[in-house]
């Protein structure tokens, strides 16, 4: 159940990169004292929260005969498998084998448990492979830690490979076409020149001849977790505070499914912040949702082999760069 170090590069490329943090589900999906089964990187996991809020993530596989622990019972600080009652603690240690007390499974750490952190309403987990169980340093997206900014998380589940979801974010030009009939991306030129600008944490893919009009730039950031940052102008109706930004992450669920996380943020304070939040909840969230649905409809309709038969042009450099980066990482992580 641990992510194996012998997986092929193709498997890793399809099901998600290891040895980094990924957002898994929103925090509110696991209530205090609750459990939730999730799929991530093509494997089954159990999220499990104690009543004091402490969260744990275990491989969803009983160390006895492999039954899903998610069908078991929450015992406060441990889970009891439904099949024969074996109890597992939050760190993966078997605390008791009720059918055979003193059995040598007791006290052994037999279930993979992933390090977890909660960040701005999302659960992040470290998906290390067998050789890298210890988490690497995680630097959180600065818009989410900036006290001058305020954010709402929007989470959705799409039937698309995770890399299609990421490629869509590294493709700003689709804003002027796919989202032309939207509240935010109606404006700007439908032709553009792009460039890649390297940074110490990833790269920018940006228009050279237009800024602040449509979805004109995006930054890919690899800071222990992969995320993008981008900015989109609001119309005057959204009130003071200028454009809104998006911090985006994608959870590779399995080869064909992705959980997408979009924090819409704005640098606003005081009454301006409150007014934006009020408008967001009442009217604006629905409009953002309509835009996101345009992405989902398009991406879900893409053929599975879309990236096998393409004719790319200059606007696709950001995507090409991303693929090369992910493909190289998948190869490095395979045996």
């Amino acid at each position: 159940m641990t992510l194996s170090t012998s997986a092929t590069a193709d498997h890793i490329y399809a099901n998600g990169l290891r040895n980094q943090w990924h957002a898994v589900v929103p925090s509110r999906f696991v209530a205090p004292g609750g459990m939730r089964k999730v799929t991530a990187l093509g494997e089954q996991w159990l999220l499990f929260r104690r009543s004091d809020g402490t969260l744990a993530m275990l491989a969803d596989r009983c160390p006895h005969r492999g039954a899903p622990l998610s069908l078991g019972k929450h015992l406060g600080d441990r889970v009891a498998c439904w099949y024969h009652g074996v109890e597992v603690e939050t760190d993966g240690t078997v605390s008791s084998v009720p059918g055979l007390p003193g059995c040598n499974l007791e006290g052994k750490k037999l279930v993979t448990s992933l390090p977890v952190r909660e960040v701005s309403g999302a659960i992040l987990a470290w998906f290390g492979d067998e050789e890298h169980p210890e988490p690497a340093e995680l630097t959180l997206p600065d818009p989410l830690t900036d006290p001058e900014a305020d954010a709402f998380l929007c989470y959705a589940e799409w039937d698309v490979p995770w890399r299609f979801a990421m490629e869509n974010l590294l493709d700003p030009m689709h804003g002027a076409f796919l989202h032309h009939d939207s509240h935010t991306m109606f404006d700007g030129d439908t032709t553009a020149k792009f460039r890649i600008r390297e940074t110490d944490r990833g790269y920018f893919f940006e228009k050279t001849d237009q800024r602040g009009v449509n979805f004109d730039w995006v930054e890919l950031c690899r800071t222990g977790v992969d995320w993008v940052d981008l900015s989109i102008p609001y119309p005057p109706s959204a009130g003071p505070g200028g454009p809104f930004g998006i911090v985006g992450m994608a959870c590779p669920v399995d080869a064909g499914r992705t959980g997408v996380f979009f924090w819409r943020y704005r640098r606003v304070q005081g009454w301006q912040r409150d007014a934006w939040r009020f408008l967001y909840k009442t009217l604006i969230e629905k409009r953002h949702w309509d835009v996101l649905e345009q992405d989902r409809v398009m991406l879900e309709a893409m053929p599975a082999d879309a990236d096998q038969r393409e004719n790319l042009y200059q606007h696709d450099l950001g995507v090409v760069r991303l693929r090369r980066l992910y493909r190289t990482a998948a190869e490095a992580q395979s045996a």
Binding site: P26, R28, F29, V30, A31, G34, R36, F152, L153, C154, Y155, A156, E157, W158, D159, P235, P236, S237, A238, G239, P240, R257, G270, W271, Q272, R273, D274, A275, W276, R277, F278, L279, Y280, K281, T282, L283, E285, K286, W289, R296
Partner: protein
């Protein structure tokens, strides 16, 4: 709305920031606020004047003051 704790794949919910369906008062205030932001600008004094000029008042029917508007935004935007 799908139950976020037990909901089945896919989770697709338009409204994830709300705690309740907005009341008619909240809808009207929000729509008018958008109109005021568009036509009167983004300064607090202009916003308060714009709302009052449109006769869209606080829940108790009183005209807005900067103070009452701030307080109401704080309550509704929390």
């Amino acid at each position: 709305m799908t139950d976020p704790v037990n909901g089945a794949w896919p989770y697709l919910d338009v409204h994830q920031s709300r705690t309740h369906e907005p009341t008619p008062y909240e809808y009207k205030l929000a729509a008018t606020l958008e109109e005021v932001f568009t036509h009167e600008g983004h300064e607090l004094a202009d916003v308060v004047r714009g709302l009052n000029a449109r006769q869209v008042h606080a829940a108790d029917g009183a005209p807005w003051t900067e103070e009452s508007f701030r307080a109401e935004m704080n309550r509704l935007g929390a």
